[in-house]
Amino acid sequence: MTSWVDAICIIIVLLSLMILSNYRVAAMIRVFAAQSFALSLLPFFLRTSSISSQDVFLALITMIVKAGLVPFILFWAIRHVSMRSEIKPIIGFGASIIFGAMLIAGAFWVSLSLKLPDRAASDLVLPCSLSTVLLGFMIMVTRTRAVTQVLGYLIMENGIFLFAFSLFDVMPVLIEIGVLLDIFVAVFIMAIVVNHINEEFEKNPACVDRSKMGETF
């Protein structure tokens, strides 16, 4: 089972790197959906004993919310708007990858000194989750489009979830669902705000620079 958990952890980090190096928003959302799908498989492989109905339930809920509803809302947010591609990231794509690699190295280095209690399923859980959180952070601060910033936030949340799944007998399932629900509502409200921002842009004829559409600052 550990090899499966390892594989999922590595896939999640690689997919975050892929989002970091991508510039088409729609592709980024698809990669995010794939990442969330990989994440939602994790509960099946964590237990050495048989899989309980709780695990299945949690996996299904995660799958529906993170790999289904959230990407759907994000696609809805970009549908009416001409902001299909990230035009001017603050750091170029090549440099982003190098920085991203450095962040991953840093995350692995930090987690050397953090010792998880023996229950963790795999040694890779902590460094991979930290890397994903950091990569999410980086996407958020280096991209200027509203939707990409939301994606950065979601990747960060995925990193936190990767970590959370490995210790979820501490958290009752209801609370985990509450967390998921919060994230869902957050994305929903963010999508609405993005839409309103764009409507305001369109109302204002002085702002003809369409390449600036969907930028937040």
């Binding site: 953090l114 952070f137 958020m140 936030y153 501490v170 609370i175 967390v179």
Partner: protein
Amino acid sequence: MLTILILMPFLCGLGVLLPVSKDFRLKLFVAASLCHGLLTASFWKELPASEYNGFLVLDPLGLILLSIISFLFLSVAIFMIGYFKHEPKRNRVFIGCLLFLLSTMSLVAVSYHFGLLWVAIEATTLFSAPLISFHRNQQSLQATWRYLLICSVGIALGLMGTFFLAIAAHNVHTLLLPVILKGASSLSVNWLKLSIIFFIVGYGCKMGLAPTHSWKPEAYGQATGMVGVLMAGALTQCPFLALLRISQICNKTGLTGFYSSILIVSGLLSLVVPAMFILGERNIKRAFAYSSIEHMGLLVLGLGLGAVGLFGSLFHMINNALAKVIMFLTAGSVAQKYGSSKTDDVKGVIHIYPVTGVFLIAALLAGTGVFPFATFHSELLILNAAIISKHYFLAAAGIICLALMFIGIGKIVLGCIHGQPKEPLLARKENIYMNAAIATSVVLLISIGLWMPLPLGKLIRNAVTLVGAV
């Protein structure tokens, strides 16, 4: 009882979303706030029993916060009766979000499980975000966006802290507060330290402590006065409850020194930063937002300074909330009358609207902590705690920053009060509801400044014992 307290506003919120008349929505909101207030008042007599296997418990700390929330919503509800008379806008989403906010904030006050606490605090962020862009324009949407993103990320770090706490508490297998406190000796200290750092960064971001305060002037500057009250008085004090809960754990595990030092540093930073920015500010609401950062800094500082400071902090929670009612409701009332809250547009308030002018002076005095307003006493208690614990430099820096804030806010407010209005304004009469809401808080804040009622003193002392600070 606690379930009713949370569910009642939530159901009313759902009711508001239905296609009903504007007046009915407003009435429902007033009724819900009133019921919430009565329920909370009944808890002062006797604390309700815990519910859902100890997930929902109301203790003295929670009661302080719950009373603040209840009172603020009631004041805002009364103010709104007057405000919406002159406001043609639709209020469906606005009042719906207010009611959901009331429900989730009550949940924060009574949740005893760190996971549930996180869920509730994040939910308060989400339901308050649409309130900021009530006057929908580019600036307010940008402010909403900034608030949503910064706070969501901050709170995500709080979630990380919650999971680190779960690792620290892996021997007790739960995040229920009493169980953690009972098994405090078996907590893993290193993970606990890590989780404390994440908690302070995450929840501090939500409180608007420097250096993660940048959403505050934007959001408060764009939001209507009523939303400003709820955000500055109640919403930002909700994460402070989380910090108090962590303080309970730290005091049991001997990490008090570690926790206090971080709190003192971030508190001091939150005093210095607004004092630097206030002097160049030219907008009443934004100035009051800086004052809010400063008050949050004082709360955190008090928590870091032991039992005396903690008493001051808890007292300051109440005073800060009342002061914010006076400040932001007056600012909202001024902004509605003048159509702006910039100092260049608002002139001669006291000549045209004498009552609002007096309230504006009261807002200045209450917000900057001048006798006889009770904010004076709580600030004095916190500074006193700094001197008792031999942090002389800290006390001196605190006094200088408070003085700078007084100068900064005084300049702005007095500039608005005096002077000749540029053009004849639409002579709107003062509204009795709006003024009554503000006047109640002025009277309350002065009276607890002159004499602290026995039940209040007892409640705060109980809360201090509960935290276990020495």
